[in-house]
């Protein structure tokens, strides 16, 4: 919440500074216009049936709502970013669990070692795997936070910065028909 307030304040500040640089006339009217612009940007849009459907899509598969509303590139970017992060998270977490199981196994051997050299060998292995586990934990957390951020940005983008381009209308398009006729085979039925 604090971050959002700070972000809004920074946004206000940046807009004010840029306006101050472009024109030195600081009047009440300018300030009112700025506030109106910001409130227009951050205004919660009306959710019609298409937007609600798109929001449901975006919530489950980030970027799919944008694609549904007609923004294919942006949607694909969100989807690729999200799934890359998700795969990274799963792989890192899987390695993390693998390391934990390996440590448990090594710990059993270590505690049952009957000689110093063997105990030292298992101990060194445990320390090495433990360090590896820490690295995997860090990677998993980074990937998970990135995935969460991408998902959140995707929802914010969908709600505030993605307009509906309207449904795609299917028509008796010539190009479509031509491309279709190339692939078609004529089957003589009368013979």
């Amino acid at each position: 919440m604090k971050q959002k307030i700070i972000t809004t304040l920074i946004l206000l500040l940046v807009i004010n500074i840029s306006n101050a640089q472009s024109s030195n006339n600081l009047s009440d009217e300018n300030l009112i216009n700025d506030e109106q612009k910001i409130s227009e940007i951050l205004k919660f849009p009306k959710l019609d049936a298409r937007r609600v459907t798109g929001l449901a899509y975006s919530s489950i598969v980030p970027g799919s709502g944008q694609i549904y509303l007609g923004y294919k590139t942006k949607g694909a970017a969100f989807a690729i970013g999200f799934f890359t992060g998700l795969v990274g998270t799963i792989v890192s977490h899987n390695n993390f669990i693998g390391n934990r199981e390996r440590i448990q196994s090594l710990q059993f051997d270590y505690l049952n070692a009957d000689r110093y050299t063997l105990a030292e060998y298992y101990w060194k292995q445990m320390v090495s795997v433990h360090n590896e586990q820490k690295t995997n934990e860090r990677a998993r957390n980074i990937f998970m936070i990135s995935t969460g951020l991408i998902w959140t940005l995707n929802i914010i983008d969908y709600l505030f910065f993605t307009e509906d381009k309207g449904p795609i209308e299917f028509s008796n398009n010539n190009s479509f028909n031509n491309s279709f006729s190339i692939l078609s085979i004529t089957v003589p039925l009368n013979k």
Binding site: M1, F44, F96, R100, I103, Q107, Y110, L111, N112, A113, D114, R115, Y116, T117, A119, E120, W123, M126, V127, H130, Q133, K134, E137, R140, N141, M144, I145, T147, G148, W151, T152, I155, I156, L159
Partner: protein
């Protein structure tokens, strides 16, 4: 809607909080100490005319010490063979040397044997401590 987004984001962060557990504290450093000051005292001859290697060592903590095992090899670091077990002194004389043609290089190690508590049964079991530094001895054939 904003609240839902915040809740989902925070829950994402909470899920990621399963942390790496700390390792158990190592026990093997404190069971029994390493033998120190392992040195050659002399290479001499027994009254029967055999060559003999005399060596000695020290150990700082004898509270968990049961006995020593002494190993000898002609090819370091492999092929060590036990030459004395259940040995409770701090000096040893090796007179059962291999056949010497002209001269012979020998490598010695001393292992202190202590006890530790078995984690499964709770019974005291033997624990072979850390090896000493290698003692290298060259024995020449008597003319």
């Amino acid at each position: 809607m904003k609240k839902i987004i915040s809740i989902l984001f925070i829950s994402f962060l909470i899920i990621s909080c399963s942390k790496t557990e700390d390792l158990i504290s190592p026990y093997h450093y404190s069971v029994i100490q390493k033998v120190s000051n392992f040195k050659l005292d002399a290479v001499d001859t027994t009254f029967t005319g055999k060559r003999r290697v005399r060596m000695s060592w020290e150990i700082s903590d004898t509270s968990n010490l049961r006995y020593f095992e002494i190993y000898r090899s002609q090819k370091n670091p492999d092929n060590y063979k036990i030459i004395a077990s259940n040995y409770k002194q701090f000096a040893f004389a090796d007179s059962a040397l291999p056949t010497i043609n002209d001269s012979l290089r020998l490598y010695y190690l001393v292992f202190p044997i202590g006890t530790k508590t078995d984690v499964r049964t709770g019974v005291q079991v033997s624990f072979i401590g850390p090896p000493s530094d290698t003692l290298i001895v060259t024995v020449k054939k008597l003319k």
